[in-house]
Structures are given as C-alpha cells and as structure tokens.
Subunit: 157 residues, 2 copies
Amino acid sequence: MQHHLDKIDTKILSLLQQNSNRTTKSIATELGMTTTPVFERIKKLEKQGYIKKYVALLNNKKIGLKQTVFIGITLQGHTRSYLEKFVTQINNFPEVIECHRVSGNFDYLLKLVVEDIEAYETFIITKLTLLPYLGNVQSLITLSTGKETNEIDLSRV
Amino acid sequence: MQHHLDKIDTKILSLLQQNSNRTTKSIATELGMTTTPVFERIKKLEKQGYIKKYVALLNNKKIGLKQTVFIGITLQGHTRSYLEKFVTQINNFPEVIECHRVSGNFDYLLKLVVEDIEAYETFIITKLTLLPYLGNVQSLITLSTGKETNEIDLSRV
DNA sequence: TATAAATAAGAATGTTATTCTTAATATGGT
DNA sequence: ACCATATTAAGAATAACATTCTTATTTATA
C-alpha cells in the first residue's frame, strides 16, 4: 500500500504546505495547467488522506504564550492500563501540544506552550506532579527557536 | 504591547486553528453575526500578525515518512559564532523540522521526520556527526504519539 | 451631551470554487 | 500493433464565496 504521487501531486502538496490559501488558479498557472485538473487533484489528495487538514498557524508570542518547554518523563510502574490513563490525562492538559511515547532515556516526551516560566512551574506543581507513578522529570526550557515548521520536504518521497 | 483580542476574536482564531477552510459565512453564522464584520476581523488578525499563515497539514506516514525522532545535543565549544553556524547547518537539513536552543541537560533539541529508523541512522552518520564540536548526542525514537497539534488553547489568553 | 471613532448590517460586485461536457492521453489485453 | 477502457486535462457554465461600498448603529471620549 505505497503511495502513488507523481511530480504534480508532490508539487501541489508542497505549495499547499507553504500556503493553503492560494487559489487553485494561481497554483495551476505556476504548474502550467488549468484549474480543473489541479482542483481535482487537490480533492483527491484530501479524500485519500494525504492532506489531513487546513489550519491557521497563530503567533503564540503575540497572543501571550511566549514560552515553549519540553519535558522528558519516566514512569515507575508500566502496566498497560496505567500508561493509557497517563496519556489520556496528559492529552487533556491544554498546555500540552505534543505527547510522544519514546524509547531512549525517557518514556514520554511532552511539548508545552505556556505564558511564561511561572505558568510552567504552576503546570508542574498543580498538574503534572499530581499524576501517580512519576519517575524522573526533566525539563528543557526553550531559549530560542531556530526552526519550527510542519512543512515536510517532499523531494524525498 | 499587550494584545487586545475580544471574545469574538479569540473564537474566530480558535475556529481557524481547527479548520482554516471554513467559509466566512459559516463562521459568522456560528457566531450569530454577518459575514462583513467577521471578514474584517479576520483580515485585521492577519495584518496584525496574530495569524502567521495558513497551511495544509499532511499525513506524514501516508507519504512514507513514518518515523519521528527527537535528538538532544550538547556542544563542546560554545563560541557565539559557532553556535550560529551550527544552527544554520541544522536548519538546512530537510529531515529537521524543529531546532530549539534549550537550557537543561542539552544545548539543543531537534525534531526530525524521516522515512524509518534506517533513514535516521543515515542522517546521524552522514550528516549530524560530521558537524564539529558535537558533545553528547541522545536520541529519543518515537514509538507512538498521543497528541500532536499546533492548536493553542485560547481560553487562557 | 455632542462629536468622533469603531463596529456592524445589507446590498452590490468581482473572483473563485465547483460542476459538467468533451477531448486527449495513457494503459492493458489480445 | 490495435482496440477498448480508464485516466487525465481542457474549456465553458454555474453557483458560491470573498471583497468592497454605503449606510446605520453602537461605543468611547472630551
């Protein structure tokens, strides 16, 4: 069940990754085509699930959420049912935007977006540390971000 | 320079975060307004930079990029000019979608999206370890992802 | 209270998305 | 190589939407 994307498809995907508000016509012009085939390709890419969704990306800092933090977590008890409960609770915290189960020196890696360091400490104290079976908790406070994108390089596929 | 977003603005932002392809009319209806004021608010939010961009989010796995990996890195020499060079080179790797300078047990945290573990090893060997002054390099291989979003909870702002 | 500045409504217009029909191109089997 | 079939693209036609304009309403301010 491998994908079957030709050059035109990957080009369309890569353009929509950069800016999903471009008109079909402008994409078509760039590709030397008319709107209909481009339109139908986009619809196909949506229907087949290559495109998950279209979203607006906000300026977190401007909105007042200035601090990104990563947290590595190890758990002490690893029963399957507890892991599931743990993830469910983590996912419900609005501060958490990513939660990955990982192998390596941690069991979980979280990514958070919060107002500031203080809000982060509040999160740790009033939410995270209330969860049972927490082992090691290691915080990585973001000082600056060189790159942060969802854009995938499609020259590889 | 604080933001001045009222309830309507934050509601619009939160809807556009979930789906940026919704029509102005449908948003207006949901908010009990007409299209014009909603349209003008959206344009203002764009112009003032609250909305950074509109993008299509792709299904990485379906496209063949199945593996997410985080890498914690410490550097041995910390001259300012070297750090800048380091970040520039990291940012140019197509596998890297995030690069954060952090405080804590690492200097940098990277997020990568690659085909598979093998592609990851190739990256390490042929790209990352060629960079000078690398200290500790610790990989966190994602086993599963419970949550991964860009959507920010605006009830806090 | 009077005036100015925002904000919203409703109608009008221009663009674009979307559909339909037809033509061209590619694909597979004999 | 040839035909039938399935994809893919083009162009025109339509419907929906974005965008602008004018006018009314509300809100803030001196």
